[in-house]
Symmetry: C2
Subunit: 514 residues, 2 copies
């Protein structure tokens, strides 16, 4: 793994930085000393808990952590055991003018859980939903389940498995993120097409806001006004804390087919993916990975882009669908890779298996890369097919140029599709570079700004599924129609009159108490 | 057709009421005499136009029209030719304190276009988008098209057909409704599964509100905050007038399969449909019609419920899918009907063809039935599978009892599924009765209240796709979480500060100017 990076950056050895010790980090005293007796048992103020909740999981976060900068740690970390305690914590924070940061798995890569709320608050209370992790009810006839929102991905799947069911929602953060976090941030998961977002699996949401508790009607579909759930999904904690949800679940998959196809060029691969999406073939996996990313992840030799395809069903064989999909690939110069095995087993030595392993391990490698001074970051978007070629070209060029300009030497920029739609793909970009070790986060951010400017200039959304957080706010606000922004701000004020909920996310913090 | 109703009601002959003549109807003088010179050419105040825009297309509307009651006609009917004129009309109405009713095809069956706005307004201006009917742009690569919102269904399909494309959105109102109306009311169309709502085909919306004009970013998908489009869809004109939209379109269908299956009981048919939905087979048509409705529509002999099935694709044969679907039906006692023909051709003599004809002609028959004193009304919902049997039983019983109680003699109540989901069906109910001719609308409403109470008590939504309008408001408000209702009201106030847009729909009119 590291050998690749020695080659890429022509470096013989990366000096390894040690992470700072807990007692050496720069963390001010907590500002909220007087915790009400009823809440004392669930509130923590020790350095460990405050450090653990000071950042999300982006490279920017990682770089700041390595620098020992914990000046923005929350003052209190609360672990409510019940919804009533969530309500009591929000009431307390509102009463003392403290900001509230809802915290699921803390895997945000966009500053969604970072307590950067400005100076207008008495302090910050981070509410970690760790204990709200129960399966509350299964409705087998309707293939639905009700969970508390703090449940982590593996625990949720484990509990469903006991009933022969699954949600099959696998964001890359799966092991370190929660159902409530997925819903609040509109996470995208396993499926490359059809139900890509968690949104499509949500039946009903229960949410505690400063203004009261909401629970939407649980029905399979409703045309009664704008959907309350669709309004809550994507608010990222800015209007309340999701405490429970009914979700649609699935029978476990019994039929799978997996193939890998290579293409002469990325453009031809993209045309094949467009044809697949527009034919309604709806593969569960359809990841078009450019030649360099295939090489860097050890999936392929780097000579050609690869398309990792999967079809699956709980009820019927999918080989015929796979044949149709592969046939479409051939129309655009695609050549199926001849190999044994299904390719999606754990540790599979197939191209798809190697890719899968790299995908799952990627976030864990990052810690080691940061320690070695390697900046590894990602950004993602979605764009209509008409605009894809231009977006791909200008974004790759802009980020390569920014890396050279900012760090003084070339890096790598690669692209894959994570999700596909009949009207366009969701391209996902990864870049690596060697920033100045004293200014890793500043230099990374400078490159990201160039990336975001290029993506939005080319008509892509500022985020397909990483959410808005604090990081994407300037671009998000420019892309959101101004009257709709005003409507959302008014809606937030109705639910959170004092503006204490995750300030600065989705709604600019300037609105606070105004 | 009428012979059936002679039998059902044991009546030899229905006396036919004549519709009232235009010069005899009860319509007050228009209250908005001073139309600004710049708008005079597009504003009409004659009785014909005002009468034409006084009602939607429910039986309640029809009964009031037959009574000659046009006391609530709009004062002005405006036909803007451009978006600038839409804006000028809204500005003028705001300036003089008049209410604005956006009007597409006027096919609302829930009072969505009825100028019943209370006494707080200087008058009512109905804005008919008839002239905003152009195809503006086709993006073939992305399979998308941009239309003005006032375009009617047939015109939209005709224009797409010239490009080898289709939207395939066929609500029962198709011929008499518009793209903008579909989007504003979250219409449901052709597809029994997958993209059932127009929502799933909307890429971007342009809307003129009193507070400004919004245009959402056109991308295939975005995880940036709550979706602006999902917030606009379902507002039913209460926050602005939709003037344009980008929509996803499809290649034309080349492969179809159609079958009809009968079941011993409706419950067994429902179990088969549940299995089909949960297997992910996603039929384009999956209408489970109870034995009596099959008889009344001339589709079948009334001895058994029928399930009309369709699969279709633009790209690959669907016979194998149909075989899987029919095999699931057999597991639940289903027996395929042996018959020649595809069943879905125009005027087809197959069971599915007869059903299709009755479906298309139904709304046209209604005029003749009202003239004969026959009340024909519908209501619809969606409910999770777990609750379906109870909902079906209690709703059928409640409406049959209400008809007997209110009209003094039995009527008919029948049920079909219009759309299906893995977690539940969308049952659609039709009832016929013979009300007192002097009180047709009051008696119909009394029965509908019993129906709505029963539906919502059994956990069904007040509407799956007929929208909220003015008719469903009391039940809608009870089903919507109160904090979310407050958030929507605040959002409306941001977009429509004077509360002039379609008052009383979605947001209670009491909020006006408060």
């Amino acid at each position: 793994m590291l050998a690749t990076w020695h080659r890429v950056f022509a470096v013989d050895r990366f000096e390894v930085m040690a992470p700072p010790a807990l007692d050496t980090i720069d963390m001010p005293q907590p500002r909220l000393a007087a915790i009400p007796p009823a809440l004392e048992a669930i509130c923590r103020q020790d350095r460990y808990e405050r450090a653990l909740h000071a950042y999300g999981r982006s490279f920017l976060d990682s770089a700041k952590m390595f620098r020992g900068d914990f000046r923005r740690a929350p003052d209190v970390v609360a672990y409510p055991r019940t919804e009533d305690e969530v309500r009591a914590l929000i009431d307390w924070a509102g009463g003392i003018g403290a900001a509230v940061i809802p915290f699921g798995g803390g895997s945000s890569v966009v500053g969604g859980v970072n307590p950067e709320v400005g100076d207008g608050y008495a302090g910050v209370v981070t509410i970690d939903l760790w204990h709200l992790n129960r399966l509350l009810e299964i409705d087998r006839a309707s293939r639905s389940a009700r969970f508390q929102a703090g449940i982590y991905g593996p625990d949720l799947e484990r509990q469903l498995k006991a009933h022969g069911l699954t949600l099959r929602h696998y964001p890359q953060s799966f092991e370190l993120s929660t159902l409530g976090g997925w819903i609040a941030t509109r996470a995208a998961g396993h499926y490359a097409s059809l139900g890509t977002y968690i949104d499509d699996y949500v039946e009903s949401i229960r949410m505690v806001s400063p203004a009261g508790t909401s629970e939407s009607l649980r029905v399979p579909a409703s045309g009664a006004g704008p959907s309350p759930d669709r309004f809550v999904m994507g608010t990222e904690g800015a209007v309340g804390i999701i405490t429970e949800a009914w979700i649609r679940v699935l029978d476990r998959v019994r039929h799978k087919a997996s193939r890998t196809v290579t293409f002469p060029t990325y453009a031809e691969g993209a045309e094949a993916v467009r044809a697949i999406a527009q034919a309604g073939l709806n593969p569960s996996n359809c990841r078009l990975i450019d030649a360099r990313e295939a090489m860097l992840t050890g999936s392929h030799d780097g000579s050609r882009p690869i398309l990792v395809l999967g079809h699956e069903s709980s009820h019927y064989p999918v080989d015929a669908q796979m044949e149709l999909t592969v046939a479409l690939c051939r129309d655009f110069g695609g050549e199926p890779v001849a190999e044994a095995g299904t390719g999606d087993g754990e540790g599979g030595r197939t191209v798809a298996g190697q890719w899968r392993n790299a995908f799952i391990r990627g976030p864990y490698y990052r810690e080691h890369m940061t320690a070695r001074g390697i900046c590894r970051e990602t950004f993602e978007t979605a764009v209509c097919w008409r605009g894809f070629a231009e977006l791909h070209g200008t974004v790759m060029a802009a980020v390569e140029a920014a890396i050279l300009r900012v760090t003084g030497r070339p890096g790598t920029v690669t692209c894959r599709f994570t999700h596909i739609y009949p009207n366009g793909p969701a391209p996902y970009f990864t870049f690596h570079c060697l920033p100045d070790r004293a200014r890793m986060d500043e230099q990374c951010m400078e490159i990201k700004v160039a990336a975001y400017d290029a993506v939005t200039k080319a008509g892509g959304t500022i985020t397909h599924h990483h959410a808005v957080g604090r990081l994407h706010m300037p671009w998000y606000e420019r892309q959101r129609p101004a009257p709709i922004g005003a409507a959302f701000a008014a809606a937030k004020k109705a639910l959170d009159p004092a503006g204490i909920m995750n300030p600065g996310v989705i709604i600019a913090a300037a609105g606070r108490g105004a």
